[in-house]
């Protein structure tokens, strides 16, 4: 009993410390600067928001949110079609997700590269 309460308390504590940081790193929110850095993708805020929602809701049930910055932009559409069958994505959701992930990728590059 004490063990469970202790463990639960510990997890809640850990949650508070790390929660904001993890989501922001793998799935950055759609801000003006974020859209600007990914302007080559020609995606509007609504599409990017929709893509982020798909990413956060559909890509977490089997594994951790992938760190998209690790993948080459050319591989991103392929990864999304590979996984979209598993995540039951509609063509629109798939497209929004690709745009969002490409924008995440563009944002992760240091400026000037």
């Amino acid at each position: 009993m004490k063990l469970i309460v202790g463990a639960a308390a510990l997890s809640i504590f850990a949650v508070i410390i790390t929660s904001c940081e993890t989501a922001l790193k793998s799935a950055p929110p759609v801000t003006a600067a974020f859209i600007q850095a990914g302007r080559r993708e020609k995606a509007d805020a609504r599409t990017l928001e929709a893509g982020r929602k798909v990413f956060l809701n559909r890509c977490i049930s089997c594994h951790a949110l992938p760190e998209i910055a690790r993948y080459d932009s050319a591989r991103i559409p392929g990864i999304v079609s590979w996984m979209s069958y598993r995540a039951h994505l509609t063509p629109e959701q798939r497209e929004a997700l690709v745009k969002y992930l490409l924008t995440v990728r563009a944002n992760s590059r240091p400026p000037g590269t």
């Binding site: 009993m1 989501a23 793998s26 951790a64 598993r86 994505l89």
Partner: protein, 252 residues
Amino acid sequence: MKLIALSLSLLLPILAAASAFAGSRRFTYVYEVTTSPPGDVEVENWITWKTRRPDDRGFDQVEFRHELEFGITDKFQAAIYIADWNYHRGLSTGERGLTLSGSALELIYDLTNPVADSVGLAVYQEFQGGYRRFESETKLLAQKNFGKFVAAYNATLEAEWEGEGLEERQGEFQQSLGLSYEVSPRLLFGAEFVHEVAFPDWSNTERGKFFAGPNISIRHRTNWVTVTALAQITRAGDEPDFQLRTVFGFSF
């Protein structure tokens, strides 16, 4: 009994063929907050082997559950337990043999997201009916994903009515905690902890029972299997000292 076995043997291949693979589970005793995507239909098969009770050394029971899961909206999932049945032997179970314990309806509604929000929450309601038996299970599911690490906690209130006029009542409070680490999307390790307190007749409280043990989850293509081994830490006479639960989903 033969009829049950026959209908199950007809049902199983159909279930297997309809199988998909949306949410591969990380745990087998603990529920996760994430639900199946809308339009998804998934089959999960459960096998739980329970053995040796402190009061009945010869006790052995194998429980089977065949579950059909439907994603309805982004936040809402329904599931049907088509059949829960078991094979048992041992002094405390009466005659050895097969028992069909019932069917159930399960509903899960997501409130918050375990990655984006500070804690992911969902509510769970299950109704189970069987021969002279009705059961309701209400759970609060909580979960937090920290990168490759997931912590999930369930609090469950269970009410059971049994007997000819359903006049025997009993309640139970259960808490469970699951911790899981993803080595790769194909291989995850973790541990599960279960704590139960029963209230026979809803009046007196029995001593709490506590179980703990490791788990592993493996995914291959569109198939997955998760196994948990639980040992009883307390010495409750009517609970198994050891249980092993396997849940798997597969498709062709």
